[in-house]
């Protein structure tokens, strides 16, 4: 008995030590999930899911990390194998209407967008980029393998790292968009699989594709970056954020009634939080609804929270899913929002873009940037990546605000090389207050080889969205203390100063027609052109090799036959 007791004690101690070693060895990981719902003025409703996993580990060390708990193994292996410092990938269906819906918490352009900062220890960035796009294409079931040097650029100023790190040499940055990429269920499924709870528990049970894609705007993204654990930044952890933004249309999904519920939007209700989540919350934006006069929220909740987001102080009703009381007696939560929301503030920065001109020879790209602030002007960085087959003429670039010429203070232009790389134009433009700034640029459309056209050439060719990045003056003081516990939606873009916040606006992608050759004609064209060359060769050959001679008239038919018979007889001819 004594021996048995000793054994049990030792075994227990051993297990404790083992568990401690395991826990300390791999670092702690932490998972939070949240959902923000914002009723929009037009009657639509904007929902934004964010799932964040924080993990204190070092992917760059020599012995590979092998014990994954909450952090998805596929992404961890991608980070360590390809020396990735930051990775941002988004898949979007639809275009964000800034003037009707306000600013999104996380902007994204239509189609697929991928931008990556590599570690500065990497030597062959281009080769690694190619491998990375192919691997991500497999992970997300998307055709990211179409990303190659003809649509990849290295922006010099627009895409600074969002995580910590001192490296800002843009040789290690790659940015590519695929505006033609379509997002559907087969992209959502692998995205959901990366979540620790999958789609079985927590907020992710709401992600049902038949309702999510029946919307005006759908965007899913993955953001990986290193962040500081605390103010002194003694340790860094890796943060993985998976975000999903959906805007449900009043008439399509809402059947015209100003009454939204979780069941109506997602055809599911919530029954429990994700068991491994340290925090699981729902935020409803009730800023203009303090007395309940605009819309009504049920079931009521006593929890309130305030956060400074997008330059404004907003008030939120909070539902904490880790508390059992949230689910009530039915043990399921179906939020009901009845009524319309009030007028929103005009967004301070928004942009439009279109192609002008007629015919298939030339055209003009017009980008309009609106500064709606009444008295403050602020600078914006405009990034344009135009495919090589639209030949831009930089000497035709004009920037006008309020009818007068507005010279950009910084222009970085990298001209395209045919079939190798696209045009890259980055400009810093100062937008005067309450004005429209128009940027125009002329281009010429190229004729491509017949194999370079897509199977539907008359659909046109897409030009990726322009990216406008800016620090916009804020109405209220922004919170610059990044280590404090804040809701996920307000902590994505780090604020470095109190008076402004970072905004990124994407314009529409353009659809441009190119002149096409006749695709049924390759053999005919080769024959006809070679015939013309042969006509030239033949005439010159005749003239060069033959000489003039006096022509002997040939005898008539009867005489010729007679001559043949005579020859056969051996008699001299006539």
């Amino acid at each position: 008995a004594m021996a048995e007791q000793k054994f049990r004690v030792r075994a227990r101690a051993l297990v404790c030590v083992f568990v401690c070693v395991v826990m300390c060895g791999c670092g702690r990981d932490d998972f939070q999930e949240e959902l923000v719902i914002r009723p929009l003025h037009s009657g639509d409703i904007y929902t934004s899911f964010q799932f964040r996993t924080l993990w204190e580990t070092d992917f760059t060390r020599e012995n590979k990390v092998s014990h994954y708990r909450l952090f998805p193994k596929s992404l961890g292996q991608v980070i360590s194998k390809f020396s990735v410092r930051e990775l941002h990938i988004s898949f979007t269906q639809g275009y964000w209407r800034t003037m009707q819906w306000g600013q999104p918490y996380l902007p994204s352009p239509p189609g697929a967008e991928l931008w990556v900062w590599f570690q500065d220890s990497l030597t062959d960035v281009d080769g690694t980029w190619k491998e990375l796009t192919n691997v991500l294409s497999g992970i997300f079931c998307a055709s990211l393998n179409f990303i190659d040097s003809t649509n990849t650029v290295q922006p010099s100023a627009s895409f600074k790292p969002l995580g910590i790190g001192n490296v800002t040499d843009h040789r290690f940055l790659r940015y590519a968009t695929l505006p033609r990429e379509i997002v559907c269920t087969e992209n959502l499924t692998p995205w959901k699989k990366l979540l620790p709870c999958g789609s079985k528990a927590g907020l992710a049970v709401l992600l049902k594709s038949e309702k999510l894609f029946h919307s005006s705007f759908h965007s899913q993204a993955v953001h990986i970056r290193p962040v500081c654990k605390d103010d002194q930044c003694k340790t860094t952890s890796w943060e993985l954020r998976q975000t999903l933004n959906v805007v449900f249309d009043l008439h399509n999904s809402g059947q015209g009634k100003n009454e939204w519920s979780l069941f109506k939007m997602f055809s599911r209700t919530l029954t429990e939080a994700c068991p491994v989540a340290s925090s699981s919350k729902i935020y409803i934006d009730i800023t203009d609804n303090s007395q309940g006069e605009q819309f009504e929220l049920s079931p009521a909740t006593p929890l309130l929270s305030q956060a400074v987001v997008l330059g404004d102080r907003r008030t939120f009703s909070v539902y904490d899913l880790t508390q059992q009381i949230t689910f009530g007696t039915m043990r399921s939560l179906n939020l009901l929002i009845r009524g319309k929301s009030s007028d929103m503030l005009r967004p301070l920065l928004h942009a439009e873009r279109y192609v002008a001109g007629y015919g298939l020879q030339t055209g003009e790209i017009h980008t309009l940037m609106y500064n709606n602030h009444p008295y403050r002007s602020f600078p914006v960085l405009l990034l344009d990546s135009v495919p090589w087959y639209l030949r831009l003429y930089i000497h035709t670039l004009t920037v006008t605000s309020k009818g007068k010429d507005n010279k950009p203070s910084y222009i970085h232009y990298q001209p395209s090389k045919d079939r190798v790389r696209p045009h890259l134009l980055e400009m810093l433009v100062q937008l005067p207050p309450n004005s429209v700034t128009e940027v125009t640029l002329q281009f010429e459309r190229a004729l491509l080889k017949w194999t370079e056209y897509t199977p539907d050439p008359n659909h046109g060719f897409y030009v990726g969205s322009s990216v406008i990045s800016s620090l916009v003056p804020s109405i209220v003081a922004m919170d610059t203390n990044n280590s404090r516990e804040r809701p996920l939606f307000s902590s994505f873009f780090p604020s470095k100063e109190e008076s402004s916040y970072f905004v990124r606006v994407y314009t529409e992608p353009l659809l441009v027609n190119l002149p096409t050759p006749d695709f049924s004609m390759p053999y005919n064209v080769i024959c006809l052109t070679c015939t013309v060359v042969a006509v030239g060769y033949g005439s010159l050959y005749n003239l060069l090799t033959r000489s003039f001679q006096i022509e002997e008239p040939s005898p008539g038919l009867a005489k010729r036959i007679a001559n043949i018979i005579r020859k056969m007889r051996g008699v001299p001819p006539l």
Binding site: L360, Y393, P415, L447, M521, S539, L540, Q549, I550
Partner: protein, 431 residues
């Protein structure tokens, strides 16, 4: 001679100035028949703008002019119209002068003794030859193709001026200047390299060196000329390197001319052919088409070794038709020489057909371009068909003049009115 020439120059300058000031100049400088990616003025401005931005003009694929051209226009960009008018006027004056010089050399009496009596009517009298230089100047200055090319400010005008200067220095007998201008012309676009052969033949004829492979003097002269030519080419290329500090311009200019990556439609044969080419055969046909331009040099030189001036005309025509990015400016250069062979008119067989086809095609080019690109009711095949027809007509024109030239030579040797064995009228065929 001076007064009519001055009058002609005045008229030409007036026409061009009027067009420069009108709204047509914008329209003309966009036309693909008049400008090509190599010679467009818009691209020269773009190259200068890129230089201002601090980016090398050759880092992109928009600018394909040589560094000396950038250097020239860096100073002359504000006087561009004047530059082009001066170059056109200059080339026409040069061409007039060289023809005048060439004709003064020919002595009527000397020639008359060498030929059979009945050929006297084939030989030109000084009276006939008097107006030919003026006609040549008129053909060059008032040719609609030249006017369009000048108003569009296509750098083809500068290339033509350099070639005209080269021909003048060759005919004057100045070996060094001839080599220098030829190397400049080759530096601008590779194809004038084929003009080496007629230049050598003419200069050897002038210096009474027999064209005989076994003679040492023949090879010695070739070595001298080659040395001067290669030397000046080397100097020009190194100067270009020092102007911009890199060798980027070599693939951008010469790689572009030879590998034809840009398939913008023009009046030549390359664009649609390589737009519809199977990838597997692209390199093969590229080599075939480029060799085609240089291929006729040796056979033509052997056949025309007694007549280097006509050989220059033939080479210019072959280059203009078969080069990778031809424009109407190149055509106007060889067409300017047609009045020199006006005595061949009695032997031309297809001239009516050829001129009708050329006129019709020139009129149809803008029509079918508009229908394809703007109206959308035609497709690229229509424009391509007119391109084919235009090139066939040009080939017929050139081979017709060649036939007429050879026939006249035959008659000069054997007599004009030939009789068959039985005494009746004979017909000549090529056998």
């Amino acid at each position: 001679m001076a007064a009519p020439l001055t009058l002609l120059l005045l008229v030409a300058v007036t026409v061009r100035a009027a067009l420069f000031r009108s709204s047509l100049s914008e329209l003309i400088s966009e036309r693909v028949e008049v400008v090509s990616p190599l010679t467009a003025w818009k691209r020269v401005i773009e190259g200068l703008a890129l230089l201002d931005l601090g980016v090398s003009p050759y880092s992109g694929d928009v600018f394909h002019e040589t560094p000396l051209t950038i250097y020239l226009f860096h100073f002359l960009v504000d006087y561009a119209e004047v530059t082009f008018m001066v170059s056109v006027a200059g080339s026409s004056v040069v061409v007039t002068y060289l023809i005048l010089f060439q004709f003064r050399k020919q002595k009527f009496a000397l020639e008359a003794d060498r030929y059979p009596l009945d050929c006297l009517e084939l030989i030109r009298s000084p009276k006939e030859m008097y107006y030919i230089p003026l006609k040549v100047a008129m053909f060059y200055l008032l040719n609609p193709f030249t006017i369009l090319s000048c108003v569009a400010k296509s750098t083809c005008g500068l290339n033509n001026a350099i070639i005209a200067l080269f021909i003048l220095s060759t005919i004057k007998g100045n070996v060094l200047l001839s080599a220098i201008f030829l190397s400049l012309a080759t530096y601008q676009s590779i194809y004038p390299l084929t003009l080496c052969a007629p230049a050598l033949l003419y200069l050897m004829q002038r210096q009474y060196i027999p064209v005989n492979f076994r003679r040492a003097s023949f090879w010695w002269f070739i070595v001298q000329y080659a040395f001067m030519y290669l030397g000046s080419l080397f100097v020009i290329i190194c100067l270009s390197f020092f102007l911009l500090g890199s060798w980027d311009y070599l693939p951008s200019v010469y790689g572009f001319i030879l590998s034809v990556p840009d398939l913008t439609p023009n009046i030549g044969l390359f664009w649609y052919f390589f737009a519809e080419m199977f990838e597997h055969f692209r390199l093969f046909f590229l080599c075939v088409f480029q060799i085609n331009v240089f291929f006729y040099t040796i056979p033509l030189s052997i056949k025309l070794k007694e007549h280097p001036v006509f050989l220059i005309f033939m080479q210019l025509a072959v280059i203009s038709i078969f080069k990778s990015y031809p424009t109407v400016g190149d055509i106007s250069l060889y067409m300017a020489f047609l009045p020199v062979w006006s005595h061949l008119h009695r032997f031309l067989r297809n001239i009516f057909l050829v001129s009708c086809v050329l006129l019709a095609c020139s009129a149809l080019f803008p029509v079918l371009w508009h229908l394809w690109i703007y109206a959308g009711s035609a497709n690229s095949n229509f424009y391509y068909a007119i391109t084919l027809l235009f090139n066939v007509a040009q080939i017929l024109l050139v081979s017709d003049y060649f036939y007429a030239f050879l026939r006249r030579e035959h008659h000069l040797t054997y007599g004009l009115y030939l009789k068959r064995k039985d005494g009746s009228e004979a017909t000549l065929v090529l056998k």
